[in-house]
């Protein structure tokens, strides 16, 4: 129920409430078609979401219009805050045991590996998640979706990655939920993720989706990633090896943070040098 508390923007996007899903989908498809034609003509592949993506109404006044300015990262930007067992209790990785009883919904494990752009596992990394409950309702005062809250589910979890960069959460599958981007707008089910990396420049906040969601083509947020391969990187895969006998289903979702990170930068200058040689010197 995004716009319900934000009157300033209800005014600026007054056409949104009356836009139909078909109009919205047509806008999305036109932008995607233009992107594909551009790539076919030699334009670069876009691995990131567009920050200027008009079908997501709230983005219209909230995206910078100037290109990002390149800055050589300084010391502080090549490092990242440290989080440890002091910050995170192991039980925070289980979202189904935070209250007196069992939450309603499909219990599941979501697990995966966090690596940097050179494939190195990132150990001891803080992973934070938040999500709606099985009915598609958030524990948030501004969420007015008339679906039930679950007294046994808050939808907030944290963990630290293990020595091999693996994270694992036990939770329940979130439901899709309506929002006010346009008439009859629904978000595909998703879990919000937050990660840090070894350099603050790697900071990532994103959303994980579930395979085969019929709402994908209709969702301006997911579709703001105009490249199909890039979109697919946000979709978990069902993994029967993660599924537990008579207990819960399992999903796997691996995460790649940008860049090579501090460890390689400081300690592996030889490898770094080879790398530069292969890719050309772009300093």
């Amino acid at each position: 129920m995004e716009e319900s508390f934000d009157h300033a923007h209800v005014v600026t996007s007054s056409d949104s409430a009356t836009s139909t899903q078909n109009e919205m989908t047509a806008q999305i498809e036109a932008l995607h078609r233009a992107y594909r034609e551009g790539v076919a003509a030699g334009a670069r592949v876009e691995d990131k979401p567009r920050i200027d993506f008009a079908p997501y109404r709230s983005s219209v006044l909230r995206h910078p219009t100037k290109d990002l300015r390149h800055a050589d990262p300084e010391t502080i930007e090549l490092t990242s805050p440290a989080f440890g067992t002091r910050d995170v209790h192991p039980l925070e990785a289980d979202l189904t045991i935070q209250h007196g009883g069992e939450p309603i919904g499909e219990r599941m494990i979501v697990t995966g590996r966090v690596v940097d752009g050179s494939g190195r596992p990132l150990a001891g990394q803080l992973v934070e998640i938040w999500q709606a409950n099985a009915s598609g309702r958030y524990v948030h005062k501004r969420d007015q979706h008339p679906a039930p809250l679950d007294p046994n589910f808050s939808g907030v979890g944290r963990c630290l990655t293990d020595a091999d960069g693996n994270y694992s959460f036990t939770t329940i599958r979130p439901g899709p939920y309506p929002w006010k981007n346009h008439h009859n707008a629904w978000r595909p089910a998703h879990i919000h993720f937050s990660l840090f990396g070894t350099a603050f420049t790697q900071r990532l906040v994103t959303q994980m989706y579930f395979p085969g969601d019929p709402l994908f083509p209709l969702d301006p947020i997911y579709q703001a990633i105009v490249d199909e391969d890039a979109r697919r990187r946000l979709v978990a895969t069902y993994d029967h090896d993660v599924t537990r006998h008579e207990w819960c289903t399992g999903y796997r979702w691996d995460i790649v943070l940008s860049g090579r990170g501090r460890t390689l930068f400081e300690n592996d200058l030889g490898a770094d040098h080879d790398d530069d040689h292969e890719n050309g010197d772009h300093r």
């Binding site: 995004e2 508390f5 300033a8 923007h9 691995d47 990131k48 979401p49 920050i51 993506f53 997501y56 709230s58 983005s59 219209v60 006044l61 909230r62 995206h63 910078p64 219009t65 100037k66 990002l68 300015r69 390149h70 800055a71 050589d72 990262p73 300084e74 502080i76 805050p81 440290a82 440890g84 067992t85 002091r86 910050d87 995170v88 690596v115 494939g119 934070e128 938040w130 948030h140 501004r142 969420d143 907030v156 919000h192 350099a199 603050f200 420049t201 900071r203 990532l204 906040v205 994103t206 947020i221 703001a224 990633i225 990187r233 946000l234 790649v256 943070l257 940008s258 860049g259 300093r283």
Partner: protein
């Protein structure tokens, strides 16, 4: 690892409207106690392309300590009031205003400019944004701003968007304009 792992970075997505019950935490914006002798207030407003406040943004800062050292201490999420971790997180209030209590970072290298790194998230913002809050000229090492490669590369009006202003109470004021008149310079700081 499998033979050809896909190492393209995972794309970002908006933090959305409903992070408030998950990401902010107690004393998240207090890198030091207000009673700390070097404590300074860093505050400002996040504004959209119409100049209206953005009431659902989240800011994170990451900075060196007063001597320019980068903290490797854990404990940002469970402030003990004594450990400087260098990391802060604060959601804006209903009128788009944020506040951090911190110290003014020293230069991380001899003669380098003193700045705080900022990461911006908001509903409507499809990916995070990075920027820097430079301390005012008067608090910089001699010539540091003039020699700063980023600032030197910017036209005056854009350069000004990255400089904090000292207020009458000694606080540092820094507004973030996501779009339009006085749009803040946002950075691509990824390693090349």
């Amino acid at each position: 690892m499998t033979a050809t792992p896909d190492l393209t970075p995972t794309p970002g997505q908006t933090v959305g409207p409903f992070f408030g019950f998950a990401l902010p935490y107690e004393r998240g914006g207090q890198l030091v106690d207000q009673a700390h002798p070097g404590a300074v207030r860093l505050y400002g407003t996040v504004l959209d392309g119409h100049g209206d406040p953005v009431p659902d943004a989240l800011l994170e800062i990451w900075q060196a300590d007063e001597d320019g050292n980068v903290s490797t201490e854990t404990g940002s999420l469970v402030r003990d009031g004594w450990t400087f971790t260098g990391f802060g997180r604060a959601a804006v209030d209903n009128v788009g205003r944020y506040t951090f209590t911190t110290v003014e970072p020293g230069p991380t290298r001899e003669g380098g400019a003193r700045f705080i790194h900022v990461c911006v998230f908001a509903r409507g913002l499809l990916d995070k944004l990075h920027t820097r809050v430079y301390l005012p000229e008067a608090d910089q090492p001699e010539g540091a701003l003039a020699h700063d490669r980023l600032l030197a590369s910017l036209p005056e009006a854009e350069r000004a968007t990255l400089l904090a202003t000292r207020d009458g109470q000694g606080g540092l004021s820094f507004d973030i304009r996501l779009q339009g008149e006085g749009e803040t310079v946002f950075l691509d700081v990824e390693e090349r």
